[in-house]
C-alpha cells in the first residue's frame, strides 16, 4: 500500500512539474505582466494523485490473466445468444425499431435532428467499416467521398434543379468512381503508406473545393440547396425534420442489412482474408486488386450517398465540413465500436456523436474531454466496445440459415 501511495505521489509530482509552465504561468505579452496560477498546480497534483490509483487499478484489471481463454466478453455472449435464438433477435429488433419509429413523437426538433445526425454517422461508419474493418485498408481520407456526394447534389440541384432522389444514386456512383480512381494507384502500398496517401487525397479534394471558385463557389460554399422532396408533400420545418429522420432510419436499416449481407458473402470473406494475410489470400485464388477496389468503391458509395443527404439536410455546404478531423471522427467510430462489427459501429457512432452533443453544456471543455476519452477508450479497451462475432454454420440446418 505504501508503495502504491509512493507511486501516486511520484506521478502527481511529475505532472505538477510537467504542467507548470502551461498551467501555472500566464504571460500577457502586451502588458508585460505575469499571472501565477498556483491553484492550478494544486488541482493537478491532487487530481493526478487520485487519478493514478484509478489508472493503475483499471490497467491491472485489464491485464489480469484470469483464465483469459475461458473469458467470453459480454458483447460476444449477447451476440451468440441472439444468433442462437432467432426469436429473441426478432424481438429485440422489433423493440429497437419501434423505439426508433416512435422517437419523434416524444422529442423536439432538436433531439430529432441530433439523432438524424447520429444515424448519418452510423451509415458513414458502416461504410468506412467495409474499407477499414473488413478489408483492413486504413483510409484517412474517407471524408473526401462524403464531399463528392455533397457537392454533387449541391451543384446539380442549384444549377440544374435536379431533385434529391435523382441525384442520390448519381452521388453514390460518382463517389464509387472516385473510390476506384483513388484505389488504383494506392493499392500496392502497405498499411501506413496507404493511410498517408488517403489523407493526402482527402486534403486534395478539400483544397480543390476551396480554390476552384468557378466550380465549387470556393470557401463561401453553396447556399439554398433544396431539401429532399417527399411525394410532393408541402412540409413545414418540423415535418421536414421528421421526414428526414424517417428517411435516415430507413437508410440505416437498409445499410445495416446490406453490410451484414456483404460481410457474410463471398466478397466479404475475401475482404476478411485479405485483412488477415494478404499473401496467403492471394495464393488461395483471391484477386487482390479487384477485391480491394471493390472495398474502396463500396465504402465510398455509402459516403457519397450520405453526402447527398447531408447537403439536402443542411441546405448549405462549404469545404469546412470536410476536414481531416471529420475523417478522424468517422475512423474513431469504427475503431471505438470494434472493427468489423456492425453493432460495434452503431454503438461507436452513438457515443461519438451523441456524447459531445450532450456535453454541449461543457462548451469549451467538450473537445478536451472528447480527446481524452478517445485515449482512455483505446488504453482500456483497444479492441473496441464490441468484439467481432463470426457467423456459425450448422450443417443440419444449413439451408434455413443461409436462406434467411
Amino acid at each position: 500500500m505504501a508503495q502504491e501511495i509512493l507511486k501516486s505521489l511520484k506521478a502527481a509530482l511529475w505532472f505538477m512539474f510537467l504542467t507548470f509552465p502551461i498551467m501555472v504561468i500566464k504571460v500577457n505579452t502586451v502588458y508585460k505582466t505575469i499571472e501565477w496560477r498556483w491553484m492550478n498546480m494544486i488541482f493537478i497534483g491532487v487530481g493526478i494523485f487520485v487519478g493514478s490509483f484509478i489508472w493503475r487499478w483499471l490497467l491491472n484489471r485489464k491485464d489480469r490473466p484470469v483464465a483469459k481463454k475461458d473469458f467470453v466478453p459480454v458483447s460476444t455472449r449477447v451476440q451468440a445468444y441472439l444468433a442462437e435464438n432467432p426469436m429473441a433477435k426478432r424481438a429485440l429488433q422489433g423493440v429497437l425499431l419501434a423505439a426508433l419509429l416512435c422517437f419523434p413523437i416524444f422529442m423536439d426538433a432538436y433531439q430529432i435532428n441530433i439523432f438524424t445526425v447520429a444515424l448519418m454517422y452510423i451509415v458513414l461508419g458502416l461504410g468506412l467499416n467495409i474499407v477499414v474493418g473488413l478489408a483492413g485498408l486504413l483510409d484517412l481520407g474517407y471524408v473526401a467521398f462524403y464531399a463528392v456526394g455533397a457537392y454533387t447534389y449541391a451543384l446539380l440541384n442549384t444549377t440544374f434543379g435536379l431533385s434529391f432522389w435523382l441525384v442520390l444514386p448519381i452521388g453514390g456512383a460518382l463517389a464509387a468512381i472516385f473510390g476506384i480512381l483513388l484505389g488504383f494507384p494506392v493499392l500496392r502500398l502497405r498499411g501506413d503508406y496507404l493511410a498517408i496517401v488517403t489523407l493526402g487525397f482527402g486534403e486534395i479534394i478539400r483544397l480543390v473545393l476551396e480554390n476552384w471558385n468557378d466550380f465549387s463557389h470556393g470557401p463561401s460554399g453553396i447556399a439554398g440547396i433544396d431539401k429532399p422532396d417527399f411525394f410532393g408533400l408541402e412540409l413545414n420545418l418540423n415535418q421536414m425534420t421528421d421526414a428526414i429522420y424517417y428517411m435516415m432510419v430507413a437508410f440505416t436499416i437498409i445499410t445495416i442489412f446490406f453490410v451484414g449481407r456483404l460481410q457474410n458473402s463471398r466478397i466479404g470473406r475475401a475482404w476478411l482474408a485479405l485483412r488477415e494475410d494478404e499473401i496467403a489470400c492471394q495464393a488461395m485464388g483471391v484477386g487482390r486488386t479487384r477485391t480491394k477496389l471493390m472495398a474502396f468503391a463500396l465504402g465510398a458509395t455509402w459516403a457519397g450517398l450520405m453526402g447527398v443527404v447531408f447537403a439536402a439536410k443542411t441546405t448549405f455546404i462549404n469545404p469546412a465540413s470536410f476536414t481531416f478531423l471529420e475523417s478522424a471522427i468517422i475512423l474513431s467510430i469504427v475503431v471505438l465500436g470494434g472493427m468489423g462489427s456492425i453493432p460495434g459501429v452503431i454503438l461507436g457512432a452513438l457515443i461519438m456523436i451523441l456524447l459531445p452533443e450532450y456535453m454541449r453544456s461543457f462548451s469549451e471543455y467538450r473537445m478536451i474531454v472528447f480527446g481524452g476519452a478517445m485515449v482512455l477508450m483505446m488504453v482500456f479497451r483497444p479492441q473496441g466496445l464490441v468484439s467481432n462475432f463470426r457467423r456459425k454454420y450448422s450443417f443440419h440446418g444449413v439451408d434455413e440459415r443461409l436462406g434467411g
Binding site: F258, R261, L262, S265, R266, I267, G268, R269, A270, L272, A273, E276, D277, I279, A280, C281, Q282, A283, M284, G285, V286, G287, R288, M294, L298, N388, R390, K392, Y393, F395, V398, D399, L402, G403
Partner: protein, 262 residues
C-alpha cells in the same frame, strides 16, 4: 502437354544473389514428387516463383490447361496461378487466424465461385444455392481431413497439427490439379508425421491430383514420394527415385553431417 507442371531453366535473382539457378523440374499427373535440399537451398523460393509470389528472372513455368495445351504462367499473379490449378500451403502457417475454420476453407473456394456484389446484396436464388453448395463442399473437405468438429472454431484456436491440416484443406478447396506443400510435417511429432503420410497419399488417391512437396523429414520423403529432386545452393544437383537419391554421392555430400537415413 503430358506433364501437369513443367519448369525449364528457372532462375531467380535477388539483387546480386542468385537464389534459384536454372532449375528444371516436371510433375506428371497423380504423381507425388519431393523437393529436398539443405536449408537455404532455394526450395521455398522455387515454390514462390511457381505460385506467382515472385516473378522469376528467367525460365519457363508451364502448366497444362484443361484442353491439354501448355500455358506459360511466368509473372501471373498468385490468384491467377491458383485458378490454373496449383494449390499451395506455407512453410510458416499462414491461416486467417480470426476467421472460422470453415471460412478459411471457403476462401479457398473463392476463385471457383462467381457471386458478385449484387448477388451479395440481394442474395438471389443463384447466389444462395452457390453459397450453400460451397459451404457443403468445404464441410466435406473438412470431414476428409477430420476437422469437421472444429468447423466453427477460430483458426487460431486450433492445435498446431490441425492448423497444418487446415492449410491443406484450404488448398484442396481451390480444386487444384496439383498441390504444393511446403514442409507439411514441420513441427509435428513422429506419430503425427505418420498420420500425415497416410493423409497425403489418401488425398492423392481420392482426389486424383499430383503433389509436389518440400520436406526435411527424410522418412516421410522416402516413404511417400515417387520421385525426388535435390537442390543445393540454388541448383538442382540430382533427381530420381528415392533409391537413386539415397545412393547419390552428390546428395550425400550436400547433406554432409545430416543423417539422411533418419
Amino acid at each position: 502437354m503430358e506433364n501437369i507442371l513443367e519448369v525449364k531453366g528457372l532462375t531467380m535473382d535477388f539483387g546480386g544473389l542468385r537464389a534459384v539457378d536454372s532449375v528444371d523440374l516436371y510433375v506428371k499427373p497423380k504423381e507425388i514428387v519431393a523437393l529436398i535440399g539443405p536449408n537455404g537451398a532455394g526450395k521455398t523460393t522455387f515454390f514462390n516463383c511457381v505460385t506467382g509470389i515472385y516473378t522469376p528472372t528467367k525460365g519457363d513455368i508451364l502448366v497444362s490447361s484443361n484442353n491439354g495445351s501448355a500455358v506459360r504462367i511466368n509473372g501471373f499473379k498468385p490468384n491467377r496461378v491458383t485458378e490454373r490449378g496449383l494449390g499451395r500451403t506455407f512453410q510458416n502457417i499462414r491461416l486467417f487466424p480470426n476467421m472460422t475454420v470453415l471460412e478459411n476453407v471457403m476462401i479457398g473456394k473463392h476463385c471457383r465461385l462467381s457471386a458478385k456484389i449484387f448477388g451479395a446484396l440481394f442474395r438471389d436464388k443463384k447466389t444462395r444455392a452457390e453459397e450453400l453448395k460451397a459451404a457443403q463442399e468445404c464441410y466435406t473437405i473438412l470431414e476428409k481431413l477430420g476437422l469437421e468438429k472444429a468447423c466453427d472454431e477460430l483458426a487460431s484456436n486450433l492445435p498446431y497439427g490441425d492448423q497444418r491440416k487446415l492449410e491443406i484443406a484450404r488448398a484442396l478447396a481451390t480444386e487444384p490439379k496439383m498441390l504444393l506443400l511446403d514442409e507439411p510435417a514441420a513441427g509435428m511429432n513422429p506419430q503425427e508425421t505418420v498420420e500425415l503420410t497416410h493423409l497425403i497419399r489418401r488425398i492423392r488417391d481420392t482426389e486424383q491430383i499430383a503433389i509436389l512437396l518440400i520436406e526435411h523429414d527424410m522418412k516421410l520423403v522416402m516413404n511417400l514420394s515417387e520421385r525426388i529432386y535435390v537442390m543445393d545452393h540454388g541448383q538442382k544437383i540430382a533427381d530420381g527415385t528415392p533409391m537413386e537419391i539415397r545412393n547419390n554421392p552428390e546428395v550425400i555430400k550436400a547433406y554432409l553431417g545430416e543423417d539422411i537415413d533418419a
